[in-house]
């Protein structure tokens, strides 16, 4: 035999099995294109140059890893479908006298063809679409791109190397399957005897338990930091629970249905329950995967979209005023240069400070145990942050006088509570008024620790607390912080110039002030959030395609299997109409299940994700609710479209059975 023959055989095989191969090649090409694009953007110089570009590329770099791992796993998975259908044919070659080595050569050619075609088309598509994605991404982060078209040799090389590796592993895996099976096994693999699925009630119960635990966690988490820590635990619980419920739970449920003779022996239930029984056993894992992928898409797209849309809000939480100057000193007296420098630059620019927020505070860590707040208090009590503010500054911030007696303090707490007395490292106060709000809190809005704001009568009290924490913490003790922040009505460029000028002036006056401008951080912010959104969309798209493809293969595989069954049903007197009704209800139930489960997962994940978003400074829960609802709707529409498209393939195979009898 000559090499040309193997190549020809391989090409013919792919052509004859195009119903199986075409989607596989498309998936490969799609994964390759997706990977190239992410890789290209992560290494593109033009993206790197924009403000916030490096943050963006860090996020994309992370995305490169995710796409690579996902693509590898997913291609393996799809290839297993292809192999399952091909085994019979390979067995036939074996029986017809082709040795395993010859089969291996045919398969080498086949994999080679698939790899070549999908790499060529995937890279071409990737390169063509890379400019478009670059434009989209830069648009998302509010930048404009140049009109130069570049091909990244680096990205091409990485993509080609990665996928060549993946294809090589796939080939090895297929060869292993051929190597270790006899021709008879290969021939029969298409209709291997079915085992009655065992309903493992224990596993089913465990699945429900895990799912419940995950849901419980998601619902009961109170604060954002906890949410961050428990989120992954909840995710893993829910993933495991989903797999167990789909694999064992569904079989157990159907088994119970089958025990109920009155329910089971009805025309409408009989065939579908028994059909689903086997279908769920084999498809449980696949359906659970579709469900998990769908949930991931929903969480990812809704949260990243929400972050992106709420970027302005988040920026405002991080920077409560357009420009802030905070100065650390060892005296409670206001440092002279700050006010002067700000006023000078404002006058120069012809602007005025609005929403001025200026106050002094002293902050240190402590451990709270009831009414006592002990700095450096060892292991006892709960960690909290103490903020000491003089009464006069509180009054100037809130515009309302705060009258305190000697030895009396007002408090404002966040995440914790205090009683009628307060003992701060040995200094006692009687707690007078408890405030509901304190505008100055915005200066520390990003702190997620429990906080106690203590408003003391005079500067002497503040001094006493200052000395006390100085004694406890020594070199690590805090200084007085003079916070001076304001808004200006001017564009971002003017704001940036203004904060730079103020920074320069203060440096000259050698004040140890930090000047922060919201406008200066805008680039980073939108870089992160835009990047996350872009990545969310890319991964979302990949996952949707993956879910669609799993669906397609399920339908095709089942089509071939159900074909014979419906043929028999026809012969024993089931009408074409009954068969079609059964098919529809069965297939619909099976495919509606993951979508419904994903929506339920999303509903339970909602409170937790909402809390996570708070860590990113996004507190607009109604916005998140709207975005989530919209995401679910759009996703459901795509899902139904994918279902309709793939069920056509199924019907095309099965309807052969309903028509054949009258050929």
């Amino acid at each position: 035999m000559t090499a040309g023959l193997y190549a020809r055989l391989a090409r013919m095989n792919i052509k004859n099995n195009r119903r199986i191969y075409l989607p596989y090649i498309l998936t490969c090409a799609d994964m390759i294109a997706m990977f190239y694009i992410v890789c290209f953007l992560a290494s593109d110089r033009e993206v790197g140059r924009i403000p916030g570009g490096s943050t963006l590329q860090t996020i994309l770099g992370f995305g490169v890893g995710v796409v690579a791992v996902f693509a590898a796993i997913f291609l393996f998975y799809t290839n297993s479908f292809v192999m399952k259908r091909r085994k019979k044919e390979l067995g036939l070659y074996n029986v017809l006298g082709m040795g395993k080595r010859h089969i291996a050569r045919v398969m080498l050619w086949e994999t080679g063809f698939v790899a070549a075609v999908s790499l060529a088309s995937g890279l071409t598509a990737g390169i063509l679409l890379s400019k478009f994605s670059q434009l989209v991404m830069l648009k998302l982060v509010d930048k404009t791109a140049s009109f130069t078209f570049t091909v990244s040799g680096f990205a091409v090389a990485v993509t080609a190397a990665l996928f060549a590796g993946v294809f090589f592993l796939i080939l090895l895996n297929s060869l292993r399957q051929v190597r270790f099976s006899s021709p008879v096994e290969l021939l029969r693999s298409g209709n291997a005897g079915e085992r009655e699925p065992k309903a493992n009630y224990l596993l089913a119960a465990l699945g429900i338990l895990l799912l419940g635990a995950g849901y419980y966690l998601a619902l009961t988490v109170v604060n954002p930091i906890e949410a961050l820590a428990w989120f992954f635990v909840a995710v893993i619980l829910v993933i495991l629970g989903t797999y167990l419920c789909f694999i064992s739970g569904s079989v157990a449920l159907l088994k119970l249905l089958r025990r109920n003779k009155r329910y089971y022996y009805r025309t409408s239930h009989f065939v579908s329950v028994s059909g689903m029984f086997y279908r769920m056993k084999r498809n449980g894992a696949g359906l659970a995967s579709i469900c998990i992928l769908s949930t991931m898409v929903l969480v990812m797209i809704s949260s990243t979209t929400c972050l992106y849309l709420g970027a302005d809000d988040a920026l405002r939480v991080n920077f409560p005023r357009n420009i802030s100057v905070s100065t650390d000193t060892d005296t409670p007296e206001p440092p002279a240069p700050v006010g002067a420098a700000v006023q000078k630059e404002l006058d120069k620019a012809g602007l005025s400070a609005e929403n001025l927020l200026a106050f002094r505070y002293l902050s240190f860590s402590a451990r709270q145990d009831g009414d006592s707040l002990t700095p450096g208090g060892g292991e006892g009590g709960r960690y909290c942050r103490v903020y000491v503010v003089p009464a006069e500054d509180c009054a100037s911030v809130s515009g309302k006088a705060l009258i305190l007696q000697e030895g009396e303090a007002a408090v404002f707490t966040k995440g914790t509570e205090v009683g009628d007395r307060l003992n701060i490292g040995g200094i006692s106060y009687r707690v007078g008024e408890k405030l509901d709000a304190f505008a100055g809190e915005a200066a520390e809005a990003m702190s997620v620790a429990d906080s106690v704001y203590v408003f003391v009568p005079g500067l002497d009290d503040m001094k006493a607390l200052y000395d006390m924490q100085k004694r406890v913490y020594g070199k690590k003790a805090s200084d007085y912080n003079h916070y001076y922040a304001f808004d200006v009505s001017a564009g971002r460029d003017v704001q940036i110039a203004l904060s730079q000028a103020i920074r320069g002036d203060l440096k000259e006056a050698s004040a140890s002030s930090r000047v922060e401008g919201a406008a200066e951080s805008w680039g980073d912010f939108i870089g992160i959030y835009g990047g996350l959104l872009f990545l969310g969309l890319m991964l979302g798209l990949t996952f949707i395609l993956a879910a669609g493809l799993i669906m397609y293969y399920k339908q095709v595989t089942e089509g071939y299997e159900d074909n014979a069954r419906f043929d028999i049903l026809k012969k024993v007197g089931m009408t074409g109409r009954e068969i079609r009704a059964t098919i529809n209800s069965q297939v619909l139930t099976v495919f509606a299940l993951p979508l419904a489960a994903a929506a339920v997962h999303m509903a339970f994940a909602f409170p937790m994700v909402a809390k996570l978003l708070k860590v990113f400074g996004l507190t607009n829960t109604p916005l998140f609710l709207d975005v989530t609802a919209a995401t679910i709707l759009v996703f459901a529409a795509l899902y139904v479209a994918a279902y309709l498209a793939t069920s056509r393939a199924y019907l095309a195979i099965v309807s052969g059975a309903s028509d054949r009898a009258y050929a």
């Binding site: 009655e196 009989f270 012969k571």
Partner: protein
């Protein structure tokens, strides 16, 4: 009274693009009386399977008519054909056609479930049949767990449970070893003695020798037929073998 009347049945298949026409049945006429056990024999390609498909209304004849209990199959509307088949005919196939997704009991119940019968009634109808067929002990098993002979007996039970006018069997012993085949034929005879009309298509002389009448088909026509009369199985076997030899060596149609 004739339960089945077949009159001038003709079937011509055309290839997919209508070019070639193949005549599967030329002109077949015969009758089956109530309580008869008729075997139809013929070589591969003689039109046996086509005939069976026409009798079962799986297919429509080009011309001619099939009447079951006096009712012409062509007068049954297309949408009622499935329930007509379910109510009047029982099928036994060479490859059993049992569903792997059902236990044997559920396979047997299948036609009754489709007819909308309740569980107690189905159970009541099934018990005497499975007892007669000797499979009452394996009802909870699945088709892939039992032997070919047991599968075929379950298939026979499925054919009988609707109490059909006529049981049509297509090479029922084709996939069985000789012992299972003999046992199955014994059961067919027993069922037939109970009054059930059976029409069986077969290749096997041994299987056909258990019938009360044997029809021979050649080139799409009924070529010859043998009545058992008073002959025992061995004598009938000899007659059938002789007729087959005659057919194979090209004897003229009588």
């Amino acid at each position: 009274m004739a339960i089945l009347e077949v009159e001038n049945l003709k079937k011509i298949y055309s290839t997919r693009f209508g070019g070639q026409k193949v005549q599967a049945l030329a002109k077949v006429s015969f009758e089956v009386e109530q309580g008869e056990f008729v075997a139809i024999m013929g070589e591969s390609g003689s039109g046996k399977t086509t005939l069976l498909n026409l009798l079962a209304a799986f297919d429509r004849p080009t011309s001619g008519e099939v009447r079951l209990n006096g009712r012409a199959l062509s007068s049954v509307p297309e949408r009622d054909i499935a329930s007509f088949r379910r109510d009047n005919l029982g099928f036994v196939f060479q490859d059993f056609n049992l569903l792997d997704t059902f236990s044997l009991q559920d396979n047997i119940f299948l036609p009754l479930v489709l007819a909308g019968k309740g569980y107690p009634e189905m159970r009541e109808r099934m018990l005497p049949i499975v007892r007669q067929l000797g499979i009452e002990g394996i009802l909870e098993k699945y088709p892939y767990e039992v032997s070919g002979g047991q599968k075929q007996r379950a298939a026979v039970a499925r054919a009988l449970i609707t109490d059909p006018q006529l049981v049509l069997a297509d090479e029922p012993t084709g996939a069985l070893d000789s012992r299972a085949a003999d046992e199955l034929m014994r059961l067919f005879c027993e069922i037939n003695r109970g009054g059930q009309t059976v029409l069986m298509v077969t290749h096997s002389t041994r299987a056909a020798s258990r019938a009360s009448r044997v029809l021979f088909i050649k080139d799409g026509e009924v070529f010859h037929q043998i009545y058992r009369g008073n002959a025992d199985d061995a004598e009938l076997y000899q007659k059938i073998a002789g007729a087959l030899t005659l057919m194979a060596t090209g004897g003229d149609k009588r």
